[in-house]
């Protein structure tokens, strides 16, 4: 097995690096820059049952080392995603993780059932943590009981493994992880954005039309890392981690914290080639450090796993 190959429920990844949902569309735009088959996987944009326009603009604002977004789950709807976006992606040798969203549990069930049958969808990422929509989204992601119920129902109808995407906007991320583990989740993906806001200092009004938005980027990395560190010690579920990843050292940090794979969000906007570059550099640095497999580093922030997993030089 190669140094970077990672096996997860439903997924055989060439490497543990993938674009995060909503930061990569359905891949078309980035295919202008590189061959998408280089990626470990692709987490595509959230899909809902119906087509959605999303929130009014402005939808993004910059903050110190971060950005706020309130796209509001704009997407062309389940049917279009199945017939066009996922179909188009079939030309690449890369597993797709479909991000599922909705306003009601039934919405989630319906999308999960249908989209999990697409041939290149190898896993679902259930988005119970979108801070930018009025109904559903984060409401499911901050109450353990609702999250458990949703997980159970989605699991029942899905033909592929189910990863639940956790919200960081909670008092105890571990409690949420326990709840979805009980609900039968196959894995976790974490974290979604932190709820934040920016004001125009002159007018005093919110810069984003939706008023609040989700904070992503390097600013949130310390929070994401801490949450992965906590949760990975408490559950046996594999974790796909995200939050501020922009280089190979960030990937190593999240794996050291306990993640099995890592997603790159905001950094794609800064550098469209960031994912393949991370993959290349990651391989090089592991070689330099004489680490046989990326998972030799997994959880070393809290596990005592001996010299092998440390930097040798």
């Amino acid at each position: 097995m190669s140094r970077l190959q990672v096996e997860l429920p439903g997924l055989t990844l060439k490497n543990p690096v993938m674009p995060a949902s909503g930061c990569f569309g359905f891949g078309k735009e980035y295919s202008q820059f590189y061959d998408l088959s280089l990626l470990g996987a692709i987490m595509v944009k959230a899909t809902t049952r119906e087509v959605r326009f999303g929130n009014p603009t402005p939808r993004v604002a910059e903050t110190s080392s971060g950005m706020l977004n309130a796209i509001g789950l704009q997407n062309p709807g389940l049917d279009h995603v199945l017939q066009h976006e996922l179909k188009w992606l079939e030309q690449y040798d890369v597993p797709v993780i479909a991000n599922v969203a909705g306003s009601t549990i039934e919405d989630y069930e319906q999308v999960a059932e249908a989209i999990s049958k697409a041939p290149n969808v190898h896993a679902l990422e259930i988005n119970i943590s979108c801070p930018n929509v009025k109904e559903g989204g984060i409401a499911f992601g901050t109450h353990p009981d609702t999250a458990r119920e949703l997980t159970e129902k989605v699991k029942r109808v899905s033909s592929v493994p189910v990863y639940i995407k956790l919200s960081p906007n909670v008092s105890s991320i571990t409690e949420m992880a326990y709840a979805v583990e009980e609900g039968g989740a196959d894995g976790l993906s974490m974290i979604n954005t932190l709820l934040g806001m920016r004001l125009d200092s002159r007018t005093g009004k919110p810069v984003i039309a939706n008023k609040t938005g989700g904070l992503s980027g390097p600013a949130i990395k310390p929070v994401a890392l801490r949450m992965v560190y906590e949760v990975s010690q408490k559950t046996t579920l594999p974790i796909i981690a995200m939050g501020g990843v922009s280089d190979e050292m960030d990937v190593i940090d999240f794996i050291s914290a306990g993640a099995s794979a890592v997603a790159v969000g905001t950094a794609n906007f800064v550098d469209p080639l960031v994912c393949p570059e991370i993959i290349k550099n990651l391989n090089n640095i592991l070689e330099e450090w004489e680490i046989e497999h990326i998972h030799d580093l997994r959880g070393r922030s809290w596990k005592d796993i001996g010299e092998a997993a440390y930097h040798r030089s």
């Binding site: 569309g25 603009t57 906007f269």
Partner: protein, 259 residues
């Protein structure tokens, strides 16, 4: 094709109050073909500012492998940019989006170019090309006040140029549409870039002729992936259709999108 390059600053100067002219050099220039396209700049390494900044291409010099941008210092990113000295490099992603068509009008036809404030720059390369094709150009340029004004001479060299300032310190007191009211020429098409209220006013004033309108919107990716920059499609009653300013625009045909 979109490219990426660390481009060298060959000149960088303040040409009006808070307005900077930045000339970059590098191979990426070769890809720049259409006036009205923009580039996405990483103003400095490091995470603050984090995102790129969209800036229009103002003029292209293929022989020298250089292109020029004009920008206004408005927030933190442009402030940091303005402090970068010649010799330093700026990371450029581009050219992005679809620009103004320079073949819509034929030789001898009349073009009206209307720019407001920092919307003026992309019209410069456009005007040069139209003139080169033998199209007659008339410019109306609007600014807040005289000290904000830039490139008046440059535009005058290309064709008739009218200035409007909101406070009357130069040219006509008022807006670009006030100048338009008084124009005797009958344009065959208009080309405009500036703040939305101006674009709206221009579109409704010239309802009967075709125009090309460059839109602005806050951006994330700049390449069509993040859906930060969408606008509604004109006449779409479902409210579900959209265009992306970054990749479908920034230039749209008049009547195509909701300004």
């Amino acid at each position: 094709m979109i490219g990426q390059e660390n481009m060298k600053i060959v000149s960088h100067q303040e040409i009006a109050a808070n307005i900077f002219e930045l000339v970059l050099e590098g191979e990426l220039t070769k890809k720049m073909t259409s006036p009205g396209q923009f580039v996405h700049l990483k103003v400095t390494s490091g995470n603050d500012p984090l995102l790129r900044r969209p800036i229009s291409i103002c003029s292209i010099n293929q022989e020298m492998n250089q292109f020029t941008m004009l920008y206004r210092v408005s927030g933190n990113g442009t402030k940091v940019l303005s402090e970068r000295a010649p010799g330093a490099v700026v990371h450029v992603l581009g050219p992005l989006g679809n620009g103004f068509p320079d073949d819509y009008l034929k030789e001898g036809e009349q073009a009206l170019l209307i720019g407001g404030g920092i919307g003026v720059p992309p019209l410069y390369e456009l005007s040069k090309r139209l003139v080169h094709k033998g199209v007659h150009v008339t410019h109306i340029l609007g600014f807040q006040t005289e000290s904000d004004m830039f490139y008046k001479n440059e535009f005058e060299k290309l064709g008739e140029t009218h200035i409007a300032t909101a406070d009357g310190t130069h040219g006509v007191k008022g807006f670009v549409t006030d100048v338009a009211e008084q124009l005797s020429i009958q344009p065959d098409a208009y080309f405009t870039c500036g703040p939305s209220p101006m674009l709206k006013a221009v579109e409704s004033k010239y309802e009967t002729i075709n125009g090309f309108i460059s839109m602005e919107q806050r951006m994330g990716c700049g390449i069509g992936a993040c859906l930060a920059c969408v606008c509604h499609v004109a006449g779409d009653e479902s409210g579900l259709k959209y265009k992306k300013v970054c990749s479908d625009g920034p230039v749209f045909k008049s009547g195509e999108v909701v300004i």
